[in-house]
Subunit: 220 residues, 2 copies
DNA sequence: ATATCAATTGGAACGCCGTTCCATGAATGT
DNA sequence: ACATTCATGGAACGGCGTTCCAATTGATAT
């Protein structure tokens, strides 16, 4: 009973469709994924795509799952719990930095296997870290919310600027505006203009994660 | 030179359009806001709306700004810094809980006056809290990311379930699935099923916020 | 009062989207 | 060889954001 997958080498398959969708999303951004563009790229019609994929949500979920799974597979398994959480979070950050559209999708499919792996990856390491059981849920929840929250922010920023905009120029513009705010009304933001201009998103993400881990560490 | 605003009492205005848009968004969810539905509700045509509003993004930004500004106006100004941050965060949480579509929009317009008020509201209180200056940016950034991150999650959840779905039933379903996960692969999530089923989103948000504040408190 | 003119309106029309439908072609079982 | 199932590609549908424009309204000048 030969599987019908390779009756023809050039046959469509969900994998090929998802791969093409990822290329399209990376190249054109969230709005670039349309069934017409996808059909053109795959040299087929939209009906053929719908044979393999339920709808656009299904397609986005599959594409997101692919990226997330790849990211998770790269996490070294033999780190101590704290470094393990940092490594897991950073892999996710980097994956979403490279594919910003993932950030907008990731929270919508909390039952996906890839999500469960993340949830367990965080939680298991919290147990290993010695967090007392009554605090497990709070600690897990704040970490997950932070990690996915930053992901969503990144996605929003990517949607905001064109894919090729100069990030440091945009940042400098905002910083300049903050520096000129009224001193009586916005004393803090004026001070923040400098750090905002010079910061690195990835370092900043990690610094926040460490602050949260420090907070979790105070629970005894 | 009389302003032309009330030449006619029933004249269109950006305020009236935004108010109708908010009603529509609250009643029908994010997909419910269309220019056709809006025009029908205002008994006019889409062209008339475009005279007052640049495009759909402008409309959503204005609606979001309205909700956020209302929420901020309710924060008592005379609280100690820590309670002030909690109060500010809770007002935002409640506003987005009541209008979930705000959560998806809020990060897209970081230059809006309402956003600046939030940013300064958090930062100013961090200064008052005695956080040392080198840590200001990290502490501010983790708080802002967490608050807006949870907002985005709420929006995603609201998009996921129909507006009238029973939240506790949906939660119980997920919890039941987690409780049946493979014990070797998902030891943590199995333990988490109970707390997940019983938790309250608002309390959970606040618990996470307190953990982050505890982490910020360790910086000396 | 009337003429003039810019501000404003309402709705038709355009192009694109996700999705559905279906006539056709290709592989397989008998 | 046929019948059957799987798979394809493209036409067609309804709805969206947006643009366009003829008609109307109200303020102003005469």
């Amino acid at each position: 009973m030969t599987k019908r997958a390779d009756r023809r080498g050039d046959a469509l398959s969900k994998e090929k469709i998802v791969a093409a969708a990822i290329l399209l999303l990376d190249a054109e951004g969230e709005g670039g994924l349309t069934f017409r563009a996808l059909a053109a790229r795959l040299a087929t019609g939209s009906g053929a795509i719908y044979w393999h994929v339920a709808d656009k949500g299904d397609l986005l979920a599959a594409a997101t799952g692919t990226i997330i799974t790849q990211a998770l597979d790269g996490v070294a398994p033999d780190l101590d719990p704290r470094q393990g959480i940092r490594a897991l979070a950073l892999r996710l950050f980097d994956a979403i930095d490279a594919h910003p559209w993932v950030g907008a999708q990731v929270s919508r499919e909390p039952w996906q296997p890839a999500m469960l792996r993340i949830f367990e990856g965080i939680g298991g390491r919290l147990m290993a870290l010695g967090v007392p059981q009554p605090a497990w849920f709070d600690a897990w929840s704040v970490l997950v919310n932070y990690i996915f929250g930053v992901a969503g922010q990144n996605a929003a920023n990517a949607r905001l600027h064109a894919p090729d905009t100069d990030r440091s120029a945009a940042l400098a513009t905002i910083a300049a505006r903050w520096a000129q705010l009224d001193a009586a009304e916005y004393p803090f933001l004026r001070q923040l203009a400098g750090p905002l201009r010079d910061h690195d998103d990835r370092d900043q993400f990690l610094a926040g994660l460490d602050l949260i881990l420090a907070g979790i560490g105070t629970v005894r």
